[in-house]
Amino acid sequence: MLSFVLQRLLQSVVVVFVLSIVLFVGVWLIGNPADILISSEASEADRLAAITALGLDKPLWQQYLIFLGNAVQGDWGTSFVYKEPVTSILLQRLPASLELGLVAFIIAIAVSVPAGLYAGLKPESPLGRGVMAFSLIGVSIPTFWQGMLLIVAFGIALPILPVGDRGQVATHFGITTSLWTLDGWSHVVMPAFSLALLKMSLLMRVTRAATMEISRLDFVKFAYAKGVRGRKVVVRHILRNALVPLITVTGIELANLLAYGVITETVFSWPGLGKLLINSIKVLDRPLIVAQLTYTALLFIFINFIVDILHMSIDPRVKSVLRRAA
């Protein structure tokens, strides 16, 4: 177990390191941030002064080493555009993204697992077919489009929900979030649903497929033959085994929700990391881009790590292998 954790840690360090190099070179290849930031009416002297102030006058490898030296000490640099430490900007935006991502995740799971299970157990029933039809629509409508449809429907034509932006925040138990307030929920529910729709449809299909596959296996047939009650078979034997592929997919999807709500955040002008990422790429704010994508990489590594541990505790086969090894 310990060696597994250590191995994972080492892997993540390598991933982050490689990622930072790729990002540095990538931004450098795209263009010169100075050309975007500096007014076209500025004189050459002003231009040079700005380039020096941003540290862009040094060769790229030197800029990278300076970045690396600071990053090791916990300083991820200062945004070119806002002149604030990138960590404080990210921390400012993180709660909004976490809120949106988590609410979307809960909606997606709460709908997709029961629906997928039902559709897997009774694939021929009208409701089972209905679930499949819904999921097909869900995966095929682009996120930005359904987001705009939702806004038009519930924000403008039938104005029952506020359009865009995060609601009021409140602090309880040391956590500041808009989820403590009614206003906050009225703001989050539409973007969260929009963000959840695709994941929901995807997870429905995964759950259904896994359920159908497992229902056909011998141990299920034997359980029914032995006279185990239907509900018990479904919960103990089918669902539990279906969870294994589901958790792998869910893990990645959760990381996606938390880090890449880019489109939803843009459409709903949700002040989270996704919107920030798009805006910082537009102006080539390298320190912000690097810090954000590094955060994303760490998030993916961390969630995959949790997924692996969950696998061990859920999958009876993996468990028995581990027990035997011990």
């Binding site: 975007i36 009416e41 002064a49 102030a53 941003l54 924000g155 506020p162 359009v163 002008s269 537009k282």
Partner: protein, 535 residues
């Protein structure tokens, strides 16, 4: 003494009446902008979105009114020119900083010195103060500014420099470097609210970069108080999100209304448009700086744009009215020249080129290209309102005169790097008049490109003419308005005659406003919150 008290009585009366003109119901104005200021620091970064916030929270000596083009007093109550290079400016005695301290000459000197010394600025305002040789306290609430040559636009330039409170406790001795000071206010202090950005109609209550800015009325303000108690400015860069926010009622005003939403706003009955031709010129610029140009073929290696007949053919090939009416939905006006009408330096005698593809073809043939040639038109994909569609329309129009045109677009983030490296042969771009008058725009666009001198910054096709340069150079040091305007018109006419530019149109600034609110459209595309009022 008696006179003075009478005068102050009059001022009090005026203030009282203007106060009573403000309806009690006026509370918060919520504005959604396509780009939000990146800092509260008035000197931090020279960019359009920062001009916006600065004008509302940190007064400069004067204000260049983008609605009617005049220069209005702000912290400078009055001014006069003595000789050619000396300006005596009387400061507004009623102007007070947040702590109640009155405005002094030392604050002005400190602020102008700080312009060159903002720590880690990504783009300084220094070119606005380039002509200042010295500033000193002339006593009696006056300052004296000496310029190193006659500078007719000194005040307009200074209208971009917000005045902050001098924290050093002494009056700095002006020079064009550090003014003997090595400890300047940090930008972060302004953003966190620790340092006040100066004296403005509004104060910043909370600044959240890239999300929103909360402003509240400055009750100590010396001039006309704004109608709204507070203003909430939100960042809504995405077009559809911005429109949705307006139609959904979460903001009252949006700027940069996308063309395809104009109908839905006008037909709703609940919103109206506030629009005005802006100084932003959208143009095509052919490469006139090199013998061989990178993106043209079929000309035996020659650069066809060095031939004035070919440039004229380009001008004749464009149907400007159609672009303005169809592609831009009427939110643009066909351009004959760089400077828009109503702005200082505009030459009213010039008309936009009439659309004449036959004549264009004839000129091409005369220039030795009866079968045209192949070229790539470059355009930014995400910079100007409907810019990509305009580029497509232009491509089609140029094909009509027998050119084999391919359109190639790039995102703004890399476009100008390439344009500055002269990688384009014919490119589409835009440029506005930062200072609200024509001279700076002409120097920026039509002046021979010379980075050291700060000329031709946006002239990436390297149009160059001795006549134009001479006229602009003379205009720079001509204080007499009529004479200077004549020089500018000479330069404008010369560019027209040379076909140095292919001006397309001047874009309208378009705001979407909820009915019941008056919001001024502004030719400089600046957002002025303090003139907004309920109606």
């Amino acid at each position: 003494m008696k006179k003075l008290s009478l005068a102050s009585f009059g001022v009090a009366l005026a203030t009282a009446t203007s106060l009573s003109a403000v309806p009690a119901a006026a509370e918060q104005l919520r504005v959604g902008l396509a780009a939000l200021a990146t800092s509260v620091d008035p000197h931090f970064h020279r960019a359009g979105y920062n001009f916006d916030l600065r004008e509302n929270i940190s007064d400069a000596l004067v204000y260049t009114n983008g609605v009617n083009g005049t220069v209005e007093p702000r912290l400078a109550k009055s001014w006069e020119i003595q000789g050619d290079t000396k300006w005596v400016i009387a400061l507004e005695p009623k102007a007070k900083f947040d702590d109640g301290d009155g405005l002094g000459a030392d604050d002005v000197i400190y602020s102008i010195c700080r312009v060159r010394n903002v720590p880690n600025s990504p783009g300084l305002f220094s070119s606005f103060i380039a002509t200042i040789a010295n500033i000193k306290d002339a006593g009696d609430g006056k300052i004296e500014i000496d310029t190193n040559k006659p500078d007719p636009n000194l005040l307009r330039s200074l209208s971009n420099i917000g005045i902050v409170q001098n924290p050093t406790g002494r009056t700095l001795a002006y020079d064009d470097k550090t003014c003997g000071n090595d400890n300047w206010l940090e930008t972060a202090g302004f953003n966190s609210g620790k340092v006040s950005p100066g004296i403005g109609h509004y104060r910043v209550k909370k600044f959240t970069p890239d999300v929103e800015i909360e402003l509240e009325r400055n009750d100590q303000y010396y001039g006309t108080p704004p109608a709204y108690d507070s203003v909430l400015v939100k960042s809504l860069p995405d077009n559809s999100a911005r429109i949705a926010a307006l139609l959904g009622g979460s903001v009252d005003v949006i700027n940069a209304v996308p063309i395809n939403s104009i109908d839905s706003i006008q037909s709703s009955g609940k919103y109206h448009l506030s629009s005005k031709p802006s100084t932003l010129l959208i143009f095509l610029l052919p490469d006139q700086g090199q013998e061989k140009t990178p993106k043209v073929s079929g000309t035996d290696g020659k650069n066809p744009f060095l031939d004035p007949r070919v440039r004229k053919a380009l001008n004749l090939a464009i149907n400007r009215e159609q672009i303005a009416e169809t592609v831009m939905g009427g939110m643009a006006q066909a351009a004959s020249q760089i400077i828009v009408d109503g702005v200082f330096g505009h030459e009213p005698d010039l008309q936009p080129y009439a659309y004449d593809p036959q004549e264009a073809k004839r000129l091409l043939a005369e220039a030795g290209y009866p079968n045209g040639f192949s070229l790539t038109l470059n355009a930014p994909s995400d910079r100007y309102v409907n810019g990509a569609q305009v580029a497509q329309a232009v491509t089609a129009m140029l094909s009509q005169i027998g050119l084999n045109v391919t359109l190639e677009t790039f995102p703004f983030s890399i476009y100008f790097t390439k344009a500055s490296a002269y990688e384009f042969s014919l490119y589409l771009a835009g440029a506005a008049a930062d200072t609200g008058e024509g001279l700076s725009q002409m120097i920026n666009l039509a002046g021979t490109r010379n980075p050291d001198r700060g000329w031709g910054g946006a002239n990436r096709g390297r149009y160059s003419s001795k006549v134009t340069d001479k006229a602009l150079e003379d205009a720079q040091s001509t204080l007499d308005d009529a004479e200077r305007e004549e020089l500018l018109r000479t330069a404008v006419a010369e560019v027209y005659k040379d076909d140095g530019y292919v001006p397309l149109y001047h874009e309208f600034g378009v705001w979407g406003v909820r009915n019941g609110i008056h919001y001024d459209a502004n030719a400089n595309l600046t957002n002025i919150f303090y003139t907004a009022r309920p109606e």
